[in-house]
Symmetry: C2
Subunit: 150 residues, 2 copies
């Protein structure tokens, strides 16, 4: 990496680090910071009338509290991020894959959704869902998750 | 990938797939399997007199229920796996890094422990700790986590 960076130093002595190099410096900083978060203190984003969420983002993973009101529908979508859905309160009905296989996931249960698998969900009751992703959902961070906001 | 595999077909028509290719077939299978788990139905491993755990292992992440009795000590250690520690019940006192910075993490709180950061913990009360790792902890799967069994 160092030799690549050196290769980018311009002759006029200004530096031309690519964004990946700048990011790697930032990530190095993140790696050294062990941080405690309290859910109650985290910003609560209202995504739709029936879905709020809080996010804790690490380098390789994102942990989310997703609060769904009964009847909330998460439209069918997929993403390359691996997903673990751990229901703490309530229950969600899922439709999985192109065949729309039905699966109800309730408090005390976990659904492992591999990369790129289509899924849709409906809250059968008011639900607190812990979603964990690897890598973090960039579309949730930059709010380009249009499928959820329809 | 296909062309690489084709290149490994021997003239005698037996196949010489490298282990990486076999693994990729297995991973492909894993990717397509969306699976529901119920914590109560998962095997509960007794690691020490004061620490039990249950594991749910995906491709990129591992989700664990760790049950610590009050007074349980997790000796100082580190690992390259990124760790999220989400306390559901009870509280843990951590000593973080070489400087042994103290941090108490209680129910409703999350500690993000980056890759390779030293940490030690003590259960201040009976505790249900949800640990999440990326990648999965191979030493937990093959029970070579000797630091924990001392």
């Amino acid at each position: 990496m160092l030799s690549q960076r050196k290769g980018l130093i311009k002759r006029d002595r200004s530096y031309a680090l690519p964004s990946a190099a700048i990011e790697s410096i930032f990530v190095f900083h993140m790696e050294k910071t062990t941080t405690k978060y309290r859910w109650e203190d985290m910003p609560r984003e209202t995504v739709t009338d029936s879905l709020d969420r809080r996010l804790i983002t690490a380098e390789q993973m994102m942990l989310a509290h997703v609060y769904l009101k009964k009847g909330c529908i998460v439209p069918q979508h997929s993403h390359y991020n691996e997903q673990l859905t751990y229901i703490l309160e309530g229950s969600l009905k899922f439709w999985i894959g192109e065949e729309m296989r039905e699966e109800i996931v309730s408090a005390g249960e976990v659904l492992v959704i591999p990369s790129n698998v289509l899924h849709k969900a409906e809250a059968l009751e008011d639900t607190l869902d812990v979603d964990i992703f690897s890598p973090p959902r960039q579309d949730w961070l930059d709010k380009t998750d249009d499928y959820l906001r329809k």
